[in-house]
Structure formats: structure tokens, C-alpha cells
Point group: C2
Chain length 529, copies 2
């Protein structure tokens, strides 16, 4: 600031120098690459700090997973801060790899890059004052506590705020933003991989001239191919300006406001004594990055060449009980139907997918059974959720309508939030092979067609991430999608993402866990396998 001369001078040629952008809430694991690879993708977009909630790896590896993420993100030009995952497992119905209680958090809570408690998704136990939840909130009292309270409102919201959460990144409409701001919360406006109507919301905020000082940006989950294509936090800033938000306010939302809310000292502004972590943009409308400076050094492809060691704790995490083909038999008797020989139909509960959405419908359909066992066809596929953390041998089996798999199977170990192995298929042989293919490489995604593994993305780190080069990851992802289409997955939805959420017992209306078919609406099992 001011006239100085030094050894390395840089001519910005009239471009706009902004503080480095901050992603206020992200699950790095959802990028499927290590923090180091993730940094290589987001830094060129001008994001120089992220506040990461390692909730996914924590569900697989417990606190060892969090330590691993902490170590794997050390000493990088991208500053990775952490929030302690608050809800592991996500629900009492999830059989995840670990449970984390307040006592388990104490040591990690003292780390310098650990800012506070991560998104408190379980608002029911929070507002009910459930003891294990209160212990966590108490441990982080006085620090930032992230909320996650979609459509929570009125007295319920008041109770939630009293318990501790001070931010929310789930607002989907203007009134929700307004009510939560008035409740003293900071609002994280999210544009990730999932479409969420953020442009409409940004326009409403601009039209109402709502003060933006307590608003900031986040991606939550955004795949690397999307980041490479459209940008990261700079993309949200661009949307905001397009929607009528003042460019200076947009820059503050992308940097300063997050730094203040999360207590990041000497960050979020360009000023003496602040970190010289800055981005040069072409203009404050498109936010195309010309150059990035991290801690005073110009960012280049080699800036991230840091030899992070993969902690052994997060490798070889697929620990399944021995599996036989017979375990894939879905019997009519699970719903109390009588066992019969020969072909017949049974009115059976079915998970019906909704094109382009993550919600599902619970429907009862006449499905084909032979010798008391469900037989998939072009309309109805078989879904299995296989416990893979503690070799319990649990397998949940169900029927899915809408994904149209033929002569093949798709399997995944990235399956929120318990990250068990989920496999969808038309025949037991291909399903078995797909699971074996994942087991062999420590997890990931696989598509099988007529006894051949068509495509596979190995994710050996907790079954969630890989340290393979980004180009290789992108190529294999494309191959997976192509293979999924080949075995019948319809256009319009990403079949891999859909699969990843079919076992999450908090999204309406019906899900499959490793125990059986779960009705999310009334939080109870329709049947157990």
C-alpha cells in the first residue's frame, strides 16, 4: 500500500486485485481427490482458503480420518481450515465406520486450523437438548458453530439458534434468508454441483437491497469437472453481480465476510499486516482470474508440489464380510408375503426415483417374483447396501424404479453418509462382480456389463478419494458415465450421484440402508432384511 520498490515487481496492467476468495463451507472429499489435488483445481479460480468439514471421511475413519485430512492439507498455498464434523454418524440408522462423541473431539478441537463445530444437521436432537449433542455444542461454546437447518423456522429456529449454530447454508428462498439473518445467523449462499435456484435468490437479495455484511459464499459439494468448467467462488461472485449485487459487496461476500465470520485473522482484505494472498481478476463482472498470489508468492502449477504422505489409517478401508451371490436374493417374505414357487407378482414397496432430483417416492408396485425371489426387469432394478466398515455381514436389499439398468450393475462406495457399498443391478452376477471390483481397489465407482468391468474409478483413500492425477480422474469419471449410460442409466441425471444418495436416510421419501428399506417420512423401517 503506497509507493515501494522491491526485487520482484509485477505490473497488474489495470486489472482488479482482490483478497483471495474463501469457500466458507465445503466437503473436500466430495471432489473425490486429495486436498492437494483439490488445491490445484480451486487455486487457479482464485480461491485461496476453504473451510472444510471432513464429514465424509469422518464417517469412514472417525477422528483418524480428520487427522489425515488435516495432515494432507498442511503447508499448501491453499489454506484449508476445518470445522469438526458434528454428526457422525448422521443418524442413528446409519451404520457408518465410526461414531464421534464430544470426548473424541477434544484434542482436535485445539488445533490451530480447527475453527469450530461443523454443520449441526441433526436439528431434532439439538432442539430437544439431547445430551450427546449438547456435549459437542458445549465443547465448542464461544467458537463458530455451523448450522444446517433447511426450512427450519419460527420457534424451532429460535431453539436451534439458542443451542449454538450461528450460520446456515441451506436457505432456498428470500424469506428464509431474512428470517435467519434476523435470528442472528450468518448466511452462506451455496452454489455447488447441485442446481439450487441461487440466481433467483441472489436477485431477490439485490432487489430488496438486503445488507450483505453477514452473507458469504460456499460450494458445499462441487465436482472438479464443474469447477474447471465454470469456476468456484469466483463463479458465485459472477452470478451475484449478474443478479444486481454491488461488485464491491460481492467481493466482500467472497472474502472479507467469511474471514470475519470464521475469525480468520489478517485475512479477507488487502491491507498492511494482512496476508499477501490476493487474486488478480480481469474485471469485477466476469471474475476471470489473471493471477493468484498466495502468501506473497505468485501461484504456478508447481506451487502445490508438496510431498504429502498418505496416512495408513485411511487406506484399505473396505472391510466386508465374505459375500456370496445368494446374499443378493430379495425374498417376498421380508414384507410377510407367502413363499411360492413359479412366476407371480407381489405388490411390493419400491423406491421410485424422480428425474433430476435427489428425492425419491415410496410407491407400491406389482413386481415380478420367481420361486419367492425378486426378478429385476427393464422397469425394476435391484439395489443392495452392503456394510463395509466392520464386516458385520449386513446387506439391505430393495427395488428401484427409474434407473433402467439392463444386463449390468453399478457400484459405489461414496454413499452418503455412512459410505457403505451400494450396488444397483439387473442380475446378481454383475452386482457381485461390481462389488468385488470395488473391494479389490479399496472403494470407488465401478460399472459392470455382462460380466465385464466396463469402467472403474478407484478411490483408495477411505473409499472416497484418490491421489491420482486430476486428468486421470476426469477421464475415468467420463468413462464411468459413458458406461452407466451403456447399461441403461437414463440421460438427465448423473446416475453416480443418484446412487450416492440412495442410502442416505434423511432425504425424503424412502431409502435403503444396510438393514433394510427405510421410510424417511416417519423414520422407521418398512422392512428389515
Amino acid at each position: 500500500m503506497g509507493e515501494y520498490s522491491c526485487e520482484n515487481e509485477y505490473d497488474a496492467k489495470g486489472a482488479y486485485l482482490c483478497p483471495g476468495f474463501i469457500d466458507a463451507h465445503v466437503h473436500i472429499e466430495s471432489s473425490m481427490v486429495t486436498p492437494n489435488s483439490y488445491a490445484r483445481v480451486v487455486l487457479p479460480q482464485g480461491t485461496t482458503a476453504v473451510i472444510a468439514d471432513p464429514h465424509e471421511i469422518a464417517n469412514v475413519c472417525g477422528t483418524e480420518g480428520i487427522w489425515a485430512m488435516y495432515k494432507m492439507s498442511n503447508m499448501m498455498p491453499l489454506w484449508v481450515y476445518f470445522m469438526m464434523p458434528s454428526c457422525v454418524p448422521a443418524t442413528p440408522f446409519d451404520h457408518a465406520g465410526a461414531s464421534i462423541y464430544a470426548d473424541d473431539m477434544k484434542q482436535l478441537a485445539q488445533k490451530s486450523r480447527m475453527l469450530g463445530l461443523g454443520e449441526v444437521m441433526d436439528y431434532v436432537s439439538t432442539t430437544n437438548g439431547e445430551e450427546t449433542m449438547l456435549d459437542k455444542l458445549t465443547l465448542f461454546d464461544g467458537r463458530v458453530i455451523d448450522g444446517h437447518a433447511p426450512l427450519v423456522s419460527g420457534k424451532e429456529l429460535n431453539a436451534y439458534c439458542v443451542a449454538g449454530p450461528g450460520t446456515d447454508h441451506e436457505c432456498s428462498c428470500f424469506d428464509e434468508v431474512l428470517e435467519k439473518l434476523r435470528a442472528g445467523m450468518s448466511i452462506l449462499l451455496r452454489v455447488g454441483s447441485a442446481a439450487n435456484g441461487m440466481e433467483e435468490l441472489l436477485c431477490a437479495i439485490a432487489d430488496a437491497k438486503l445488507p450483505t455484511k453477514n452473507m458469504m459464499f460456499c460450494t458445499d459439494d462441487k465436482h472438479i469437472e464443474n469447477i474447471l468448467r465454470e469456476g468456484h467462488i469466483n463463479y458465485i461472485a459472477k452470478l451475484a453481480v449478474k443478479c444486481g449485487i454491488d461488485p464491491i459487496d460481492a467481493v466482500c461476500m467472497a472474502s472479507y465476510n467469511a474471514a470475519r465470520t470464521y475469525g480468520l485473522k489478517r485475512q479477507g482484505a488487502i491491507a498492511p499486516g494482512y496476508r499477501a494472498t490476493m487474486v488478480l481478476f480481469d474485471n469485477l463482472r466476469d471474475f476471470n482470474v489473471i493471477d493468484v498470489f498466495a502468501m506473497g508468492k505468485r501461484y504456478t502449477d508447481r506451487s502445490c508440489d508438496i510431498g504429502h504422505i498418505l496416512p495408513a489409517d485411511v487406506l484399505n478401508t473396505v472391510n466386508m464380510a465374505p459375500l456370496t451371490k445368494e446374499r443378493f436374493s430379495l425374498k417376498a417374505s421380508v414384507i410377510g408375503a407367502s413363499e411360492n414357487n413359479g412366476d407371480y407378482t407381489v405388490k411390493f414397496p419400491v423406491i421410485k426415483t424422480v428425474p433430476g432430483q435427489l428425492v425419491t417416492k415410496l410407491v407400491y408396485e406389482d413386481v415380478h417374483f420367481r420361486d419367492s425371489e425378486f426378478v429385476p426387469d427393464r422397469r425394476f432394478d435391484k439395489l443392495a447396501v452392503i456394510e463395509r466398515h466392520h464386516a458385520t455381514g449386513n446387506i439391505g436389499l430393495g427395488i428401484v424404479e427409474g434407473l433402467c439398468i439392463e444386463r449390468g450393475a453399478i457400484a459405489a462406495s461414496v454413499t452418503h453418509d455412512a459410505h457403505n457399498i451400494v450396488v444397483l443391478g439387473e442380475n446378481n452376477d454383475d452386482m457381485m462382480l461390481a462389488v468385488e471390483a470395488l473391494k479389490e481397489c479399496g472403494g470407488g465407482f465401478a460399472v459392470v456389463h455382462q460380466s465385464i468391468v466396463l469402467a472403474r474409478l478407484p478411490l483408495p483413500i477411505a473409499g472416497l478419494m484418490t491421489d491420482a492425477p486430476i486428468e486421470e480422474v476426469l477421464r475415468k469419471q467420463r468413462a464411468l458415465i459413458d458406461a452407466a449410460r451403456l447399461v441403461g442409466a437414463p440421460e438427465g441425471s448423473d446416475p453416480l450421484i443418484l446412487l450416492s444418495f440412495l442410502a442416505l436416510p434423511v432425504i425424503p421419501e424412502v431409502r435403503l440402508t444396510d438393514e433394510g428399506l427405510f421410510n424417511v417420512t416417519n423414520m422407521s423401517y418398512i422392512y428389515k432384511n
Copy 2:
């Protein structure tokens, strides 16, 4: 927030409920009453939290003084937060009661109400990277560090900010505010007892539509009679609105902004989970207080009835070497003038006061000497600074023009920043008596006229404060002023305040310390006694 019913309901009758106001920087000792009495004065004005820098008592009692203030302000409806005094003594030329180094601060730094490092007044040692100062800045790295940098600008300001200070309360003009905001500082707008042109500055801020999110209010030093007469932080809010600042912004400056800057969690707003510490104002123009609620309880005269014990460490702090009248002789030889008998004049350096201001002028005048000893007259008074902490026997003697004391003396132990005993008089007998009067009561203020103590305000706590009832303090203060006028102090300035600053070797141009006459401009002694 919302419709609730409860046992005690209160009808606000359309008045304005605001978060409790916050004084972002104050020296409580300057009120001359204990934190408890101070609370009784400011709470009815709507101030519910103050951020106190116990710099004055620290200069007398060291860290024990800070502990005492901490204990004396515990469990009150007024929340007293602290900043660690950073410059004790204020300069190397001050002979204060204690020196505080980084090592001495470590234990106190961990206390929950200790927020950070107090105003770093010594900007020279700060920008020079002097080691003992850097140790303190390092100890409080990552926490709030208050600045104090009047008119520091350009590269000097940059260096100062790099060292750590992130706030400033010394801005006197718009350009200074703008430059310091741009340097990443938060600005505390101060309206205390001293007139400082704040209305003009507030109008300039309003006219320029400068964002106020990093601005807040403070009093620094404000006497209780002024607070009772015109208000406290609510008075600054009133001025701000009068000058054109949006009333909502003014309320934020008076509450929310300070809470955010100083990291006061769950404070500064009315929202679920925030402290129910609120003020009911008649309107957002006059800010007259209707009622105050502290932690959900309505404030009454009895809310502060808490039996704080006065720590023994801060009592009986006047520790002078035995004093004889002869010590008051100011010899012409101190400036190298030859000793002579009889009456004659000597061109002698004189402290010339400026009406209505704290600055002084260094002038050389022909003053009356008899038998080599200075003889005061209607124009020239004698000033003495007597070391009173470690009984060193130091006495500085000088000549003051402009206060016109006749047949009397005024003495004080509230004398920034070292708080030695300062006495101004026309004859040695009355000066001696005034000092003895202070010694007897543990410090304070005294006015003597013709061998009679006309008025005295005992300040037995560190020679700075009293726990006497507020009405008694006010009555004695008025009596002191009346008595000072009687012995000749001119109208237009408060002679007691003037006296309090005559020994502070940082205000231009010339001061007297317990060692001798000090030229502030070139930071060196003109003569030593």
C-alpha cells in the same frame, strides 16, 4: 422473538428495543470511581458492556492493579472486558509504580474477560521492532490489538499495522479515518470529556456515505458528572444521528460493530441465543433510556448491590520519601545560572499553558529569583512532581505560566501516566501542606489556601479511585473546582485536569517529570533537578 408468554411480561409501549450499548475503549480509573460505581453511572445510560484498559492502575500497581480491577468488576450487570495495558510505563522517562513486560502478562492473558492487548501508544518502538514491544505483540498474536496512533500515516502507518494493532481511537479528521480504514483498521469514534470536534467528523462520514461497519464508539475518558449530564455511548449515537448517520447504522456502531470487532460472542444483537442485554429507548434520535435489561433482568438501582472486596494490593499506594520544605527550592543553578544573593531575574525555561488545551508551550521568560531561589508571583507558579511509588526521593521542580495560583496550592495523585504526586503552588508551605493532605488519605486531589485545606477528594484506591458514594464524589469534585478558582485558577479550563497532564512526557511541548523539565519535541531533559 415471536409470540411467547411468560411469568414476567413487559409492555414496551412502542419504544425502541436495542442491543445494550458498548463502550469499545475506556479507562475506568479516569472516572475516579470503582468499576461498581462506574456501572451505576453508565448502565442507566444504556451502556451494558465496556472494554476497559486498566492502564492507569497498572502504572501504579502493576499487574496486581489489573487483577484488582478484574475482581472489582466481576459478576456485575455491566460486563467489563479488559485489554492488557501495553505500555507500562508509558515512556522510558516515566517513573511509574511498575513496569509490565510480556512475561508478566501471560497469566492474565488467559482470563476469559481479557480480550487482547491494549492501546499500543508507543508507536515508535512498535515500528522500530523493539524487542520488549514485539514480545507483547507476539503474546497477543491472533487476538485484538488496540492501536493509538494519532496522525500516524503513510508508510509509518503501514509498519504500525504490520506489527499488530488493528483499531484506532485517535482519528481527528476524515482523511485520517479513511486512510486507517483502508489500512484495515477498525475505527473507534471517541466522545469523552475532552472536546474533540467529533461532530464535524461524524458529519463528514455521513456526507461521504462511508460504510460504518468497521466503526464503533468509545469514550476513552469521561467524567461521571459529564456522563450524568449528557449521557454516555447513547450520547455519541445521538450526535451521529444528528450529523446524518442512519439511525440503524448508529445503533450498530453503538453495539453490534464493537461486539464483532472484539469477538464478544452472542452479544451486540437481539436474537435467539444472544444475551438478553437490551436497552429501551424513547426513539432513535434522542436515545433517552426508558429501561435497561441486563441478562434478562430489568436494571434497577439495586442491581449493582454486589459486595466487591477492595484488594489490599491497591490501597496505601502513596510511598514517598520523607519530604521537607527545603526540597521545594528551585535553584537557578539547575540551568547553569550563577548563584546570587538578593533579588534579580533569570531567563528561565517556563511551561506555558494554552487556555482550553492540554498542549503547552516552552517559553523562556525573565522570572524572579531571590538568593538564587525561584520566587513565584501572580504570573509564574511553582510546579513540583514528587515520586510516590518507591520512595526514591525524586522531586522535579519547574515554573508554570498561565494558572495564576495565589496564596495557595493544588495537588494531585492522578497525574498521567506515572501518577506521581504533582503540586502547583505559590508558596512552599501551602505546597507542602497539599502534598501531606494527599499522603494522609492515600492520594486524590487537594486544594490549600493560606495553610488551610479548602477541599479534598480522597482517592484511596491506587491514588486514582474511590468507593465513596457517587453523590459524595460529585460534591467533593465541585468543591475542589470552587476552591481552585478561589486560589486563582482561571475560568475556561478545568485546573484539575490540566494538572493531571502536566507530568505526561508525550504531549507537546514541555512537561515536568520527577527528574526535571522535559522537552517533548526532542525527547530530552532541559534540566534535571
